[in-house]
């Protein structure tokens, strides 16, 4: 009986993983379309006012948050719940810091290239879509800290954590493409 239950759990995990991957693949086409729009409308033009150091800084913050998320997920998979909570809280903090950075960026951009201009249209849309994903990612990470998932972790089921962390990494991957596209190309 235990064996059957175990197989069922493994099947379920594989099903959940495939579903999440398909969602991520589907979502990546959204970013593909946005990046395409950037090159279609603006080519590789970049306004000189864009704050490149700030862009690098928030990129590093986001990559650090991905590392924290990875550590949290790995700890959860190994049953180290304390370390898991610490790292996911750190991820949340870094994610929030990233959003603060985007806010700074936006307030500068509003002055130099507001959203009603050609480059502003692209800049605000791309960073806006990405920031929306960051916000949903933060909400999802918060869900992973709620009592339901903690109880499941104690039973050795870390799927919930794995799922939200995967989504968080995806948000990071999207930024890896967005950062050079908006801040660096020429």
């Amino acid at each position: 009986m235990a064996v059957i239950a175990h197989t069922a759990h493994k099947d379920k995990l594989a099903i959940h993983r495939l579903g999440l991957w398909l969602f991520i693949i589907s979502d990546s086409f959204l970013f593909l379309g946005l990046l395409f729009s950037r090159f279609y409308l603006q080519g590789v033009r970049r306004p000189p006012e864009i704050n490149q150091p700030l862009g690098l800084a928030i990129s590093i913050v986001l990559i650090l948050s991905s590392l924290a998320a990875y550590r949290g997920e790995t700890a959860a998979a190994y049953g180290d719940i304390k370390r898991f909570r610490r790292n996911i809280l750190l991820t949340l903090g870094l994610g929030a810091l990233f959003l603060v950075g985007v806010g700074l960026e936006w307030s500068e951009a509003f002055r130099s290239f507001p959203p009603s201009t050609g480059y502003g249209t692209i800049f605000f849309t791309l960073t806006g879509f990405h920031a929306f994903h960051v916000v949903t990612g933060l909400l999802a990470l918060t869900v992973a800290l709620l009592p339901g998932q903690r109880a499941r972790l104690q039973e050795g089921n870390s799927w919930g954590v794995e799922a939200v962390v995967k989504y968080w990494h995806f948000v990071d991957v999207a930024w890896v493409f967005i950062f050079p596209t908006l801040y660096l190309v020429s």
Partner: protein, 68 residues
């Protein structure tokens, strides 16, 4: 296949982080120093930026390879 220890996996995270930092900073240097035609180098550099995350952090292998 024996399961790697937690410490080994956490260490792997730092290696990936290091690689990503190198990529980001290289991109930044190219983006700030190269005045014209930087985009092909940046386009190539997105791959070493994205693939480690996909491979080591997101375990993309799950899609075609069933472990456990």
């Amino acid at each position: 296949m024996s399961k790697p220890s937690l410490a080994a996996k956490l260490r792997l995270g730092f290696y990936v982080l290091g690689a990503l930092m190198v990529v980001e900073v290289t991109e930044y240097v190219i983006g700030t120093r190269v005045k014209r035609g930087a985009w092909p180098y940046l386009a190539i550099l997105t791959l070493p930026g994205a693939l480690p995350i996909l491979y080591y952090f997101m375990h993309i292998k799950q899609l075609w390879h069933h472990e456990e």
